[in-house]
């Protein structure tokens, strides 16, 4: 893989964020927060009748993007912030770009900016990743 700063990571698309996946996730996480499974609770706090995607699920879309690009097990570190919520029904694209390519302890690493995009300029999740590159 010949890579340099500024190179884009291929997009990964979640065509529609599905509420039933949030419900399964809430059960696995033992997460009591009704915003992930009760549309009326979301309506009551101003989000309309759409449930709010769990933060880790949004993060997982970026994991999937990085795996599709550099292979399963490639991720060394993810640091993610959550400026906005992702709602059920949203069409979300995971995107990223390389900022640094470096070597550390014999490994070739890429530091990347990564984000989720709902529409151009609308980035509900923003973070960084360090990826182990194939030899």
């Amino acid at each position: 893989m010949s890579l340099q700063p500024g190179d884009a990571i291929p997009d990964w698309l979640m065509e529609s964020v599905r509420p039933e996946r949030m419900r399964t996730m809430a059960a696995i996480l033992r997460d009591p927060n009704p915003v992930h499974w009760d549309r009326d609770a979301c309506d009551a706090i101003g989000f309309g009748k759409r449930t709010i995607n769990q933060g880790p699920l949004g993060l997982s879309y970026m994991v999937n993007m990085l795996h599709a690009w550099a292979g399963p097990g490639c991720i060394s570190r993810l640091v993610m912030t959550f400026p906005k919520v992702v709602l059920d029904g949203d069409r979300i694209t995971a995107r990223g770009a390389i900022t640094v390519v470096r070597e550390e302890n014999g490994l070739r690493l890429a530091d990347c900016d990564i984000w989720l995009e709902r529409e151009p300029g609308d980035r509900p999740l923003v973070g960084t990743a360090t990826v182990r590159l194939p030899a």
């Binding site: 996946r21 009591p32 933060g55 993060l59 997982s60 060394s76 993610m80």
Partner: protein, 158 residues
Amino acid sequence: MTAAPRPMPPEAEIRAIVGHEFPGGIYTVAHWENFLLTECTGADLLPGGMVHPVVLFHMPILGANTTIGEMFALGQAESDYSIGIESYDWEMFHPLLEEVAYAIAGKVVAAERRVRPDGRPFDRIQFQFTVTGPDGVLAARTTITWHYNRQAHLGMKS
């Protein structure tokens, strides 16, 4: 956990939770759990019994023998709605595998009161968990930073 707002706790009570350790324990990700978890992400199962990294949110919490609800309560959250995420920091040293027993430890590493530019206070609480394989090698470390927003004392709607 009740949805009714609670009064803002004294700052000293929040600072005092730094160093609080969860009981800790062992967590094994079963195949069924990894299957459902991976399906939720929209991806196919990873090869070789590798667990999807999204497990690094709940596995450390449950493996440390705590819960999201208990973590909310530890910081005296006003309600389930009052929690905001600052960041999740996941360090992955080795891929996690299905049906392997990992030792989990977790504690509160930071807790402090802050005030937003608009005057609204919140408590910034940081939890750190380690995931160690049966060979004693650290497999992952996660840091969760949440904001416990305090609004009830201002008479604001939660």
